[in-house]
């Protein structure tokens, strides 16, 4: 199994969710994160003093998926999350050794 982690722009979450649904993905977990990258933060002013907001709000989408479906899922995410502007985010893929569904104790791919 693979784990796909995608860092995306927050307002793209709905699109990504729908794109994943289209390729048949039924489960995912999302987290609010802050990202630091090429997309530089903006300068803001508070009571006369400038400061830089380096960390921009992003959403992390995580899903564990059978090996053979990983590529399709990654592709779906990339397509749905793209705006073409800097800061669109990344997709990372890694290996997962085991998955367990807590409710049923099913293991492996059938747990997803």
């Amino acid at each position: 199994m693979k784990k796909i982690e995608a860092i995306i722009k927050p307002f793209k979450l709905e699109d990504v969710k729908e794109a994943l649904a289209e390729v048949g993905i039924e489960g995912m977990t999302v987290t609010e994160v802050k990202g630091f990258g090429r997309q530089k933060g903006h300068t803001e002013i508070y009571r006369g003093s400038e400061y830089t907001v380096d960390f921009l709000p992003k959403i992390k989408v995580e899903l564990v998926i059978a090996d053979e479906r990983a590529e399709a899922a990654a592709e779906a995410i990339v397509k749905a999350a793209r705006t073409g502007k800097i800061g669109d985010g990344k997709v990372f893929i890694s290996a997962i050794e085991e998955a367990i569904r807590i409710r049923t104790e099913e293991k492996g791919e059938s747990a997803l």
Binding site: I45, Y46, R47, G48, S49, E50, Y51
Partner: protein
């Protein structure tokens, strides 16, 4: 002027003036005060007549045949007007009370969430302590009548009485127009008591996020108990400021509702405390200012609205009667000054800082209100607009200035109350019914006393108890450090719930 008794000026005053000369540097903004005469002319007439009127009414009232009990008094023709006047001062006390909710929310909104319980606690403490300290000592120290310890300069205080018997001469003396043409002893006390805690509340905002709770409580108590009544007695208690400047400068000092006696006092006491305390960790790093953002703009805004509301009582009640001409003029001048301050600060921050800064605009409203407080009864409507607008511009630059000289005041208390308190007092010599020099000397005297008194008080507290929480506590927040309790436990231990 809230004097009960007048006393002539003392020679000791001269010595004080020397100290004031030195203190003049502190109040470097005096340069801002231009030609005192022009605008004030028409307004002078207003104040003169309103004062005359009030006195006339007073005369009429006191000329009423002496009564032997409160009950008899209620049958005199003076009674209905006395009832309204007294009621308005009481309602004003309630309005001033709500200012403490305003201070609490402004200060909370403009600081970090990890110090919220601490700030709320301090503000709640201050109201409670302030009223009781004033009852136990302050009121009698501030309004000594003839019981000065050092004439015109200092009077020992003491507890207010517990009760008056309305059926006796004692009751008549304190519950009728024998006490004051417009209100009872109780009304006088409670209205003044609501003002008393304000000075300490102003300090609270400036020292936020790093002062030890216990140390603050001790220092603030001494300020309210001892310090505030002293400068208060100088003017409203009939001391040297009230009656001593006439011969020197050709006019008495005027501070209608306390631009100096309340606001500048608080602002300069805060400045001294802040200097002893130092800036918050991380505010000034390597020559640069790193802003520490307030955690809730809605709280800050609610606070300013509540303060504005309270100001109708602060200034409106300081007419000390419901006199229609007086109170309605004060409502107008107070409102337009606050509004002008807000707009001026908004546009100044927009122009100078490139963005319309909400927190500056809020400060600007307060600045305008502080500014008009000394002259709300003697400034024309458009004069009040000018006073407020200048205060609104001033406060933006004052905030920038204190940041530049690395004085860290999280909520801008020194700028709003100190600097604009000075400005407002001086403005009475420009737009209102006062003389420039008298006003300048008066506001410097009060500011200097507040500054040095606070420096001594918090200096001793620092030596004995320490002033500042540990670095670790500052990083983790005073809520957990001082109170063991977060303000917003969002992510609670959730088991079984």
């Amino acid at each position: 002027m809230r004097v009960k008794h007048n006393r002539s000026i003392m020679t000791i005053m001269k010595k004080l003036l020397i100290i004031l000369g030195l203190a003049a540097t502190v109040a470097s903004m005096s340069v801002l005060a231009a030609d005192p005469e022009p605008v004030a002319a028409a307004a002078d007439a207003v104040v003169a007549t309103v004062t005359a009127t009030t006195e006339a009414v007073a005369d009429a009232a006191t000329a009423a045949p002496a009564v032997s009990s409160y009950e008899e008094f209620t049958a005199t023709p003076a009674f209905p007007k006395f009832v309204v006047d007294n009621l308005w001062v009481l309602i004003s006390a309630a309005l001033v009370f709500i200012m403490h909710a305003g201070f609490a929310t402004v200060e909370t909104g403009l600081t970090q969430s990890k110090n919220t319980v601490n700030i709320l606690f301090k503000n709640v403490f201050i109201v409670c302590m302030g009223v009781l300290a004033y009852a136990a000592w302050g009121f009698n120290s501030m309004y000594p009548g003839d019981n000065w310890t050092i004439s015109g300069i200092f009077a020992l205080g003491g507890p207010i009485p517990g009760s008056f018997d309305p059926a006796t001469a004692d009751g008549v003396a304190n519950l009728t127009n024998a006490y004051n043409p417009a209100y009872t002893y109780w009304t006088d006390f409670i209205f003044q008591a609501m003002f008393a805690a304000t000075a300490a509340t102003i300090v609270s905002g400036a020292v936020a996020e790093r002062i030890k709770l216990g140390s603050f409580m001790v220092g603030a108590t001494v300020l309210v108990l001892v310090g505030y009544p002293i400068t208060g007695s100088w003017e409203w208690g009939g001391g040297w400021l009230n009656s001593g400047l006439d011969k020197m400068f050709g006019a008495e000092f005027i501070d209608f509702a306390g631009s100096s006696l309340v606001h500048a006092f608080g602002g300069y006491a805060a400045l001294a405390a802040v200097l002893l305390l130092g800036p918050r960790k991380g505010k000034f790093v390597g020559g640069k200012v790193r802003p520490i953002l307030g955690h809730s703009m809605p709280l800050a805004t609610i606070g300013v609205f509540l303060l504005f509301l309270g100001w109708f009582g602060f200034n409106g009640g300081s007419v000390l009667s419901a006199d229609p001409a007086g109170v309605s003029l004060v409502f107008v001048t107070t409102t337009v000054a606050g509004c002008a301050g807000g707009l001026a600060a908004a546009f100044t921050s927009w122009g100078v800082l490139k963005k319309p800064d909400l927190s500056m605009t809020l400060n600007g409203i307060l600045a305008g209100l502080v500014g008009i407080t000394a002259g709300a009864d003697t400034t024309s409507a458009w004069g009040a607009v000018a006073v407020g607008a200048i205060a609104g511009v001033l406060v933006v630059f004052a905030v920038l200035f204190f940041d530049k000289i690395k004085i860290d005041d999280p909520v801008g208390a020194v700028s709003v109350h100190g600097i604009c308190g000075n400005w407002g007092t001086i403005a009475v010599g420009i737009f209102g019914g006062g003389k420039f020099m008298t006003q300048l000397v008066g506001t410097l005297a009060v500011s200097a006393f507040a500054f040095f008194f606070s420096l001594v008080v918090f200096g001793i507290v620092k030596a004995v108890l320490g002033l500042r929480v540990s670095e670790e506590e500052e990083v983790e927040g005073l809520d957990v450090g001082e109170h063991g309790m977060p303000a917003y436990p969002y992510f609670q231990p959730v088991a079984e719930r």
